[in-house]
């Protein structure tokens, strides 16, 4: 198993990153602020605290994926540690996969810490917590896998800042393509409709993974939607990792 050392190394290195700890603390503080909001909520405490918790977990995890993911490959090149790694019997695509799963492990652990924080907030504010609240977090893991793969993909050919910016733009646009498609349908211009469709189908449709509102309002989500959205996440991530490996393979190191 050649992936394991890369995964562990990426995990340990990322955990040492100050930005990760700062972001987790920020998320926990954001969730704890629910206690201040509670008396102002006028009977809507449950909804507001759940929204706040899920949004804080989401935002912090996305920022970790964007900022930590964007630096992964470039840092190795800059520190020249990549030459030591690649001198060992490990293929380049294995290196990319190792990096990806390493960061996903970091995100999973961060998510676990934030989720525990969220359920503690629910406990302290005496709001009923149910397992249905874990569903948007499962969706978030798949959304994060796409974002991480995107960050890794950009990280193979641009600087860390560039990779973070491009990933963040795609994260934003990925949530907008649905609106773009709807607006284009109103304009009724074939060129605009074509472009909107192109964006809608080719760019990652991250809005698929946003079920927070539905869960907070206890709206049932069809099983088919859950299964196919998760498959979409896996396939999209796999494609991005393939592209990242392809670029990294041809990179002159």
């Amino acid at each position: 198993m050649k992936l394991k050392p890369v995964i562990l190394n990426t995990f340990i290195e990322s955990v040492r990153d100050k930005i990760l700890i700062i972001l987790i603390i920020l998320g926990l503080l954001l969730m704890a602020s629910a206690k201040i909001i509670q008396p102002l909520a006028l009977g809507e405490e449950s909804k507001i605290i759940k929204d706040l918790g899920l949004s804080a977990i989401n935002l912090v995890s996305v920022l970790i994926a964007v900022f930590v993911g964007g630096r992964l490959i470039y840092k190795e090149i800059e520190k020249r540690t990549i030459y030591i790694v690649l001198a060992k019997p490990i293929r380049r695509w294995e290196f990319i996969l190792g990096k990806f799963f390493g960061l996903l492990l970091v995100l999973f652990v961060s998510l676990l810490i934030l989720t525990i924080g969220f359920f503690l907030v629910l406990l302290f504010t005496k709001i009923q917590a149910d397992f249905y609240l874990l569903l948007p977090l499962l969706f978030l893991i798949f959304e994060l896998s796409i974002i991480t793969a995107l960050a890794l993909f950009f990280s193979t050919f641009v600087t860390p800042i560039g990779a973070s910016i491009f990933t963040f733009i795609l994260y934003f646009v990925g949530h907008l393509t649905r609106d773009l498609k709807a607006f284009a349908a109103m304009v009724k211009n074939p060129v605009i409709t074509f472009l909107a469709d192109l964006f809608y189908y080719l760019l990652p449709n991250l809005a698929n993974f946003n079920i927070k509102g539905m869960v907070v309002h206890n709206v049932p989500i069809p099983l088919g939607v859950i299964i196919f959205t998760l498959i979409y996440g896996i396939i999209y991530t796999a494609g991005l990792l393939f592209l990242a490996s392809l670029i990294f393979q041809r990179k002159d190191l």
């Binding site: 909001i37 102002l40 909520a41 006028l42 009977g43 809507e44 909804k47 507001i48 929204d51 706040l52 949004s55 989401n58 935002l59 934003f172 949530h175 907008l176 609106d179 991250l206 809005a207 946003n210 927070k212 509102g213 539905m214 907070v216 309002h217 709206v219």
Partner: protein, 290 residues
């Protein structure tokens, strides 16, 4: 060592001065604005023509942003309730809020009630509640609240009956919705009694303390109407007997036309005033106000 201490001391002084100056400057900026912060927060929302445009900007955090708008809406409502009772932006705020989170039932209901009862815009309230009904077709609360407004404010009993009937057919509805449909279709003179029941049930059904206040206020208004009718009855009987009007309510009590002078439920008192037509009418006033 000494230099290091001096360096740390100077750094500390600079940081303290910096903190002091930013706080001071913010206070100056706030003062120059001449408007309270809560007004500015609401004015900010006025720049958005609708929540439809705000929604794409806030991407997947629309529910959280809707919660922030909800907190602003409550502050706005609370402030104007305590001061001028003018709610210019209330409808706009609740429109943005419910467009951001179309399933926020509490916001539609609170928006509907405050628009109808406090802002005196029942048509706007019905519009908001109808949108809620369209987007949440299985929630009985929307037709129920619309019926309530038709019944209590617009006094359109036919439509009130239609919406009560609709509410009664929804899943998990109150059994009493059907009863009210019958009340509304059948009647009008017993409006106050039914209004009392509706307000009492509204009070029981909500966790929102402001909604509870609205219901309590509604009950007080009905009680006042009942008191005025009762006292006016005494005045009319007095006139029939003596062909003149009593000077005050105490006179009605002394001559046995009423059993007691009820306490005005909102902190005022009842009195007799002579109208331009020369007839005596029972009305209410507040101590210290003319």
């Amino acid at each position: 060592m000494k230099r290091r201490f001096l360096f740390l001391f100077l750094s500390f002084i600079i940081i303290v001065l910096w903190l002091f100056s930013i706080v001071r400057l913010q206070l100056i900026v706030d003062k120059k604005r001449k408007k309270p912060l809560r007004e500015l927060l609401v004015e900010e929302l006025a720049y958005f023509p609708s929540g439809k445009f705000l929604k794409p900007v806030v991407i997947e955090y629309e529910n959280f942003v809707a919660d922030l708008v909800w907190l602003r809406a409550i502050q706005y409502y609370g402030h104007h309730l305590m001061t001028d009772r003018r709610y210019t932006w209330l409808g706009h705020i609740f429109n943005i809020l419910t467009q951001l989170d179309p399933k926020f039932v509490g916001a539609y209901r609170f928006g509907g009630m405050t628009l109808a009862w406090d802002a005196r815009e029942p048509e706007e309230a019905i519009k908001l509640l109808r949108r809620g009904m369209r987007l949440n077709p299985l929630r009985w609360e929307f037709p129920f609240d619309i019926a309530f407004i038709y019944y209590m404010i617009l006094k359109d009993y036919e439509r009130a009956g239609d919406y009560f009937y609709l509410a009664g057919r929804m899943p998990e509805t109150w059994g009493i919705s059907q009863r009210w449909a019958a009340f509304s279709y059948g009647k009008s003179e017993n409006r106050r009694d039914f209004g009392k029941i509706i307000f009492q049930d509204l009070y029981q059904s909500t966790k929102n303390p402001e909604m509870k206040k609205i219901a309590r206020r509604g009950l007080k208004f009905i009680k006042r109407e009942e008191d005025i009718d009762y006292l006016q009855g005494g005045v009319d009987k007095y006139y029939q007997k003596y062909k003149k009007y009593p000077k005050n309510l105490q006179e009605l009590l002394t001559f046995g036309f009423i059993d007691s002078i009820p306490k005005e439920p909102t902190g005022g008192f009842y009195n007799i005033t002579i109208g331009p037509d020369g007839k005596a009418k029972v009305s209410y006033a507040y101590p210290g106000r003319r």
